[in-house]
Symmetry: C2
Subunit: 263 residues, 2 copies
């Protein structure tokens, strides 16, 4: 088999669909966007779509399927949302109840799939600009915190913004802000630079999700809105059934990261 890291998005999705790859997708299909997945039923879809419209930093939509269609038309044309991600999570009434590698058996005619931009895209841009990304250097999951900022509510969906944190030397902060501002489709500019207390974070070494990143002497913590926000908000409303990707097991899209740049 051709090495994984030289395969196209479509080739990778075919391998995943055939059950020949089921691992995390970080580092695959360099230059292409990957997407977070959230599937809800039509009864929740309007409120969720409106929630995303009102909270574009936390919930930047790359694609929304037609009701009942599991085919991505725009972010990954031809991709079958039911089989083309390596691992899924099923939530019933807000509780995680199963991890599966294919959701065809669970798909229903009134479901809508939301594909949400992922920070992998802007991290590539940071690295290309010589801004270090600590959790990649140290090979652990990004630290995430439930902040004191409330999202704009929409119908049944409301809750706090979850933020991710990347520490960096003070002389990289301006460039990091510039670089990520170009990519509103994958969370965009930071939401806060500096003191964690301003976001209601009492102990930066105890993230709510992921693993703590070591902040070196002289480094500044920089915070971005995080794609865990929509998932947390959706689960909080305890929908009868919701399906997401398993963390790190994303949909590999045909959209290039650079196509998401607004200039």
């Amino acid at each position: 088999m051709q090495p994984l890291n030289t395969q196209s998005p479509e080739q990778l999705r075919q391998l995943i669909r055939a059950g020949q790859f089921n691992g995390p997708t970080a580092g695959l299909a360099a230059g292409f966007a990957q997407a977070n997945l959230l599937i809800v039923k039509q009864a929740q879809a309007y409120d969720f779509l409106l929630f995303c419209q009102r909270n574009p930093q936390a919930c930047p939509l790359l694609d929304v399927t037609d009701v009942g269609s599991a085919i991505s038309q725009y972010a990954a044309p031809g991709a079958d949302i039911r089989s083309d991600l390596p691992l899924y999570r099923l939530y019933r009434h807000g509780e995680l109840c199963e991890e599966v590698s294919d959701i065809s058996a669970h798909w229903q005619d009134d479901m809508v799939a939301f594909l949400i931009g992922c920070s992998f895209s802007f991290e590539s841009a940071l690295l290309a600009n010589d801004v270090p990304v600590r959790h990649i250097e140290d090979n652990h999951n990004v630290p995430m915190y439930i902040s004191n900022r409330q999202c704009r509510p929409a119908g049944q969906f409301s809750g706090p913004m979850v933020v991710s944190m990347r520490p960096m030397p003070a002389d990289k902060v301006v460039r990091a802000t510039q670089v990520t501002s170009r990519f509103p489709g994958v969370h965009g500019a930071p939401v806060h630079i500096g003191d964690p207390a301003a976001l209601g974070i009492t102990d930066i070494n105890k993230p709510d999700f992921g693993c703590a990143s070591h902040i070196r002497e002289g480094e500044v913590p920089v915070f971005w809105a995080c794609g865990v926000t929509p998932q947390a908000v959706a689960m909080h409303s305890k929908p009868e059934l919701a399906i997401t990707h398993a963390p790190g097991h994303m949909l590999i899209c045909d959209l290039r990261n650079e196509q998401l740049g607004v200039f």
Copy 2:
């Protein structure tokens, strides 16, 4: 009375609400965004919201009210959509049937108001960058054309992208592209530069809406996605009742144009 052009957005909305001003809003509240309005019933709202998500250049959403609420929470906090625009149009089954200065009597509990970004904001930015705007110089309505580009359909809504055209000297085209790229919330970058035929426009002197702009020797026509698109698309689906602003009679928002800049 204080001159109109020195009044704040809230003061102007109060005047309009009280019936003391009913003219076009161009030039008022300099520096503040103005919004196109489209009101549909809940039954159409999901498809229309999805249409906007899929076509952000033509349909950049500034705000969407909660179902049944005529109050703008985010773009113009406190504004009453039913009374705070100078003139409205009522469409029944896609046909214009009435122009009124207040729609309180027509508001229904299942209505949703969509506020859509307007090119006034990016035209201010063009002028501030010394890019001429011909239809402002010549004091006529911007020329608009039904292009051969199809919008991405969403449920009952589909149709061609309507584009507006601004001619300018060739040496202004790069700056015009840069300046408007900053403002995806008000149509963003041009969709085409140069030959009208590439957009299926056979006679640039015969716009489908508005008035022809004179293109001087050596000037290049530059085209942007136009906010008439969502209105045309919505009417094409012949909803039982839809309400819009009358052309040029916009909602004056509290959002500053600069707040819509992505960097």
